[in-house]
């Protein structure tokens, strides 16, 4: 028998299935047809007027309306599913956006003009190529295969310059979060559309060759619990087999970052900033040893510094920016927010490559970018499985919840983003709202930066995040990841192969929580881990 039936592994919300049944049984409405024509096809460009939110206060406290938002059901386990209560009118938009996130981009020029413009330098051909089925990436087991779903961020630290250049560097850092490596930029792109790179043949003069070959070597070590139990940990050592544009600047800092899960981002987006600000304690006034800072990052649309919420260091402010940045940097797809090709001025051949730009100069025009953002916004989160009270008590007694903040109540209308003019295409979204009142959102994160200690530090600044600060990673869906991609690799560089390993890596502000964890009995640790895996 090759197949294993695992009936208890993914419980879907029964209440939501009922909702879906209603949806499934409802004949296709004229409303959807009308939407298709006025919306999808209208192709109206919208001036980017900002991402400011002005959403009515959620009707908090009305418990009768509180409902945990989850994904729709599917025949297969995956994270890239629409919200259970997403209205019919938005379903077509969701799938169109998913197609954009899913389908591979190709080298320009191509007959498939809306899909060409890959690279010239890139990390992956599509969003879901790394965010497999909406989940996390996978790490290679050893040095024999290249790193694919993680990328290497680069930055220059402590560049000794004076006068005018210092001011320029300051401005660059303010907008990019770090000073780019002069030749390679802010991240290593191990792939290229050059024929030699694509076919693995010798390169010719003038080709925009790939930047290098990124591999990792795992260094193993053991942790011994007070009760004698031993757990093996691993930490990645970056191996750059070739650097085709010369050596890196001597002051380069490298940060290996795994593709994070991208489900539930619309629900995270719906959390009011004030709720997150309320959790911040930058000066540790409550003396619990845990600070928690809001990263202050560049919003390229508003051209100003705003709170950050997304990414391993909370270095992106909103769904639009993180999507546009990933298109530009990871796939090499220019767009209205990041219109430049992924080439530095030192990469002349890259700059001379043919592009897939439209007449406005974008490979991904605004309306298609919006569709992709809507896909992110409308992707649900898995429902919690059976949570044990004992595991929850242990989670809390260890202090995990101090940073892994369990839940928020949000106004479901916020999830559609229909109040956010910058994220809206008339007729395309904003027509449908979830209309389910107040939602309970349970990401188990405070979305704040915490010092996680030297063992996890990448020593690379990212806006105001220091080299040892990381954003609290949401915990939801962790227990399902292995079913989706066959692998669990947690923390920013994918080093932790289990929840236990991830806990053991916690240091800095989280050191006390880790200490409480290792002093638990083996059974208690297991209960805590099972709780986390059921989130």
């Amino acid at each position: 028998m090759l197949l294993v039936v695992t009936p208890k592994t993914q419980r879907l919300a029964v209440t939501d299935i009922v909702t879906d049944k209603l949806y499934f049984r409802t004949p296709a409405s004229r409303r959807l047809s009308a939407f298709l024509f006025t919306g999808i096809f209208a192709g109206v460009f919208v001036a980017i007027s900002g991402c400011e939110r002005s959403v009515p206060e959620a009707e908090q406290g009305d418990k009768a309306l509180v409902k945990q938002e989850t994904e729709r059901q599917a025949l297969a386990a995956r994270f890239d599913l629409p919200l259970a209560s997403l209205p019919d009118s938005e379903i077509a938009s969701f799938y169109a956006g998913r197609a954009l996130a899913h389908q591979p981009w190709v080298k320009a020029p191509s007959s498939t003009t809306a899909r060409d413009g890959l690279g010239p330098l890139f990390n992956a051909r599509s969003c879901l190529g790394c965010h497999d089925k909406g989940g996390r990436g996978k790490m290679p087991v050893d040095e024999t295969s290249p790193v694919f779903t993680a990328l290497l961020r680069l930055g220059i630290e402590g560049l000794s310059v004076e006068g005018n250049q210092q001011a320029i560097n300051h401005e660059v850092s303010q907008q990019l979060g770090a000073l780019p490596e002069p030749v390679y930029g802010l991240q290593l792109q191990p792939q290229s559309t050059a024929l030699s790179s694509q076919l693995g043949i010798p390169s010719k003069e003038g080709e925009a060759v790939a930047e290098g070959d990124l591999r990792i070597r795992w260094i193993f070590s053991d942790v011994v619990y007070p009760d004698g139990k031993i757990t093996q940990l691993r930490t990645p050592e970056v191996v750059l087999r070739s650097l085709n544009y010369g050596p890196l600047h001597p002051d380069t800092r490298m940060s290996l970052r795994q593709a994070p899960g991208m489900f539930g981002m619309g629900l995270i987006d719906a959390i009011p900033q004030a709720d997150i600000d309320a959790l911040a304690d930058p000066d540790d006034r409550n003396k619990d040893g845990i600070s928690g800072r809001v990263n202050q990052v560049w919003n390229p649309v508003l051209q100003e510094t705003v709170p950050g919420r997304y990414g391993w260091k909370a270095n992106r402010p909103d769904l639009m920016t993180i999507s546009a940045a990933a298109f530009a940097d990871d796939i090499g797809i220019t767009n209205p927010i990041f219109p430049g090709q992924p080439c530095t001025s030192a990469q002349a051949a890259c700059l001379q490559e043919k592009t897939g730009n439209n007449h406005e100069g974008f490979e991904l025009p605004q309306d298609l970018l919006e569709l992709t953002v809507n896909f992110l916004r409308y992707t649900g989160a898995p429902e919690q499985r059976e949570l044990s009270q004992k595991g929850k008590a242990l989670f809390n007694s260890a202090g995990c919840q101090s940073c892994h903040h369990p839940e928020y109540l949000v106004d479901s209308n916020r999830v559609t983003g229909n109040q956010a003019p910058g994220n809206r295409v008339p007729g395309k979204n904003g027509t449908g709202t979830l209309r389910v009142g107040v939602l309970k959102v349970s990401p188990y994160s405070d979305f704040l930066l915490h010092d996680m200690g030297t063992a996890l530090a990448d020593n690379r600044r990212d806006f105001i995040a220091s080299g040892s600060e990381w954003r609290t990673a949401p915990l939801w869906g962790i227990g399902l990841q292995k079913q989706i991609s066959g692998e669990l690799s947690l923390l920013h560089d994918g080093r932790a192969r289990s929840v236990e390993e991830a806990v053991l890596w916690h240091g800095g502000e989280a050191l006390m929580a880790r200490e409480r964890f290792i002093r638990m009995t083996a059974h208690e640790r297991q209960q805590l881990i099972q709780f986390v895996e059921a989130l």
């Binding site: 197949l3 039936v5 025949l75 020029p109 498939t112």
Partner: protein, 508 residues
Amino acid sequence: MKSSLPTIAGMTLAKLSLAVGAGLIITACGGGSDSSSNDDLLTLDNVRQVLNTNADIALAAYTDSVITAEALLDAIEALEADPTQATLDAARKAWLVAREPYGQTEVYRFRNSPIDSTDYSSEDGPEGDINAWPLGEALIDYVVVNDDDNDDMEPEGDFGTDQVGVTDNGLEVGDVTDAGAYEITIDEYNNRENIIGRTDIEINAALLANNATADDEHDVIAGYHAIEFLLWGQDLNDNGETTEGDDRDEAVKTYGVSALASGGQRPVSDFTEETYGERRLTYLKVATQKLIDDLTAVRDGWAVGASYRNAFTTINSEADAQEKLTEILTGMGTLSEGELGGERMQIALSANSQEDEHSCFSDNTHRDVWLNAEGVSNSYYGVYAGYDSDLDGVDDVSTNAVDGYGLDDLLADAGKNTLKAEFEAALTLTETNYKAIDTQARAGSPFDVQIMTENLSEDSPIAKTILALNAQSRIVVDFAAEIGVDGSVVVDPDASGCDTENPTASCD
């Protein structure tokens, strides 16, 4: 990235154990209105008949795919022997015929069957080398770079302001003909930085193969669409107006030779010019032989006695039956909604892009839609009628036709008449709409014309087909719910709390 290459797709294979797991859970609230026990749907003898018929259809359709691919190779060899418009047209026609059986096999995707997996679990099947798309055509042969300054290519000319054009770095391109089409003049195109142009690259099967185990190996350069590109070239007609007969609007009125005026207009001289002509013919032969080999491997996985087929058709318990039926349903549901309705059709509509269609070089996308949807219907009815060898829209080669025991029979024997009627109504609605796409295409408006903004209305068969496919997938999910309630498998205490007479009630 193997996962995204497979036919646009990459809704890659889910682990079927999970598929089954999720399927079971669905059943927690999946009560239907029929009163008979769900166990009837899992009667082993009946399910065995379903599985064997499902396997028989796969074997037949893949066998026909191999046969038609071999005929394509014959036609390409005839083109090589004597490159004329007549032999080129014959090769193009052979390609169109080869798509007829293959399109009906796509319902066997997304379920770890031999097209996607060599061992029933790994995602290492040859699909990415057979039908992957979009094509990395710029890696293969010359492509025309549109000139932004050319008024005729102004995006608003045909497709509205969001038509994505291609800019260039000043390369000269061919002149625009009176018909509005670009004349591809090779002499004016000096960029040989592609496989055909780089004479130091040996064209062989290894070059074309995408290493299935490596992520993101290279852009698609193998399979049906690579062959299509070399036979037709880019479809550069950006003008939907009727012309002298060589524009795509005149296109597909019939499937005679005049139909070949649609799509790309690669000249015969591409196959007669020194060096490069030979390299194109070599590429065509290598790619087609590789296609035959890959299809043969898939076909053999379905042969009677093959290990995959044995594993698929052998069931010893209701859990086995449930698992195997779920595999069939996963292929049907995934193809219907996410793949065909979503990625293959909706994205072309939403991107409003002329060539964001499956068979963009040959303008044959209306057949892809029809045949993919027909494949879903085949799985339901347990029928495979054969394929259409003269391209008139009627299956006339029935040598390998199958008429067996389908899901319709399973439902009938279990007394699930409501679900049966719903399922068949959904399939019929889909068929009505995809046939309308085909009719419009044959009347001179291929898929890429039908998605043009000015041709859209609430009666657009493309939009109606998408809606019908979505509705159809919901019925597939309903079916999955129907087969799931089984106390020995579904260990879900909530299951008994459901009032199946009232599906809208909470099961808490």
